[in-house]
Amino acid sequence: MTAAPLTIGVVLSAPIPSGATMSSAEPNRRYLAYLSALALAVTPVVLPVAAATAAAAPSAGASVEKLTALRGAAAKIAADPGYSPARFTECFLGPGDKLICLG
């Protein structure tokens, strides 16, 4: 599945995300409905121009190792939508590369 291109610096005003994958659990739907109602009651945040710096051109290519890791992580997510690398026990490169710490 190919997602739509992202834009940045947009005014956030749409009441509901446009994605088609909203068929998740009932609590998820209820919570999203609550947030959507809340969104109608608050003024959407307008992102400042600074965000546009993210459009900077990439400086280098991708290593074979990282591409392999990324494909592995994408496959895991596709196979198990609940998959989430736990911050303290695993990263998506594998259990040998622990990352710890909060600030």
Binding site: L12, G19, P44, A60, R87, F88, C91, L99, I100
Partner: protein, 371 residues
Amino acid sequence: MDRQLTLVVKSSKFCNLRCRYCYEFAELGSRDRMGRANLRRLYRTVRDHVVAADARDGARTTVNLIWHGGEPLLLPPEYYWETFADLRAELAGVPHRNVVQTNLTVLDDARLDLLRTGFDSVGVSVDLFGGLRVNQAGRDSQDRVLANLERLRAEGVPHGCITVLTAANIRRVEEIFEHYVRTRTSFRVLPLFDGAFTGQHTGYDVSSAEIVTALTTLFDLWLASPAPITIDPVTEYVERALRYLGGAPPRYYDRRAWLDTLLVDTNGDAYAYGDPYGEPGAALGNVFTTPLTDVLSGPAFDRSARTAETRIAANCVGCALFGACDGSYVAEAEPAARTVDPATGVRACVVERAVLTHITNRLRTVPDLVA
């Protein structure tokens, strides 16, 4: 379902350093510490909360204790050995881990043994450039810390590093990255976010645009490098970008369903990460005197949760990334880490959205990444 409950435990604010940007600066001379009895109370109420929650919804919670300060290793190692014994007794049957966040300036044999066999992992604060992590005499601590890091590596003690990004080092992220590749160390970058007093960060402060540039540069470097290290939060963003590109079912951060990180001050006052830590009236409650379940369902929690939900509503509802990104960044990030929308006074998701956009657009060009 597996989930985490992370407690950032301020065992003592006492510190031998006076890092120029430290948000605890005013309290670094205090020798107050969490007492053993209060820590036992904390363990019991965490156990009661977790066991009840897991029984209710069938999840399995792992409790992470992040021992924090001040400099937590200035306390004698016996302090930790004793409380770890209490922890094992009180949290029997509940998976838990102990992690310490240290400046690593003090590393004798007893502390090395504590790090190796007492803690499950170690986070070391080191900025690599800038000279802002100084002692009371103003002397840079870094040479000693790097030497002690070598000792940790030689002893095989699992560790990662945190590098605070300030004006003194934010333009040197390539050198920072190269250092951690060379030492095969996963690390977190933490943009300067809060101060202990007005004007503390004058001369060191960084803008949102500088942070975005630093994080996107780190992602590009990481992607191009074969080194098997992670960079928090960059690799966390990668996971969210993969979810977006792969069309994974949405997930939404709901603090009322589960608050996964709680900061516990030395006196027992507890704060969500999105709340102004240390400000009068901002605490959710006191976990030395009040059951955690009550703290997480009381009026202060309700007000705090509503404020976090408002941030999600104002920033995320309508964002194309919402669902792949669960909104936790705006819900729980430190107040001063946020650019505030001048029109509404609501913290704006500037950095995360920009970096996620960059990563997503780059990963979109990778062949065969998602079906």
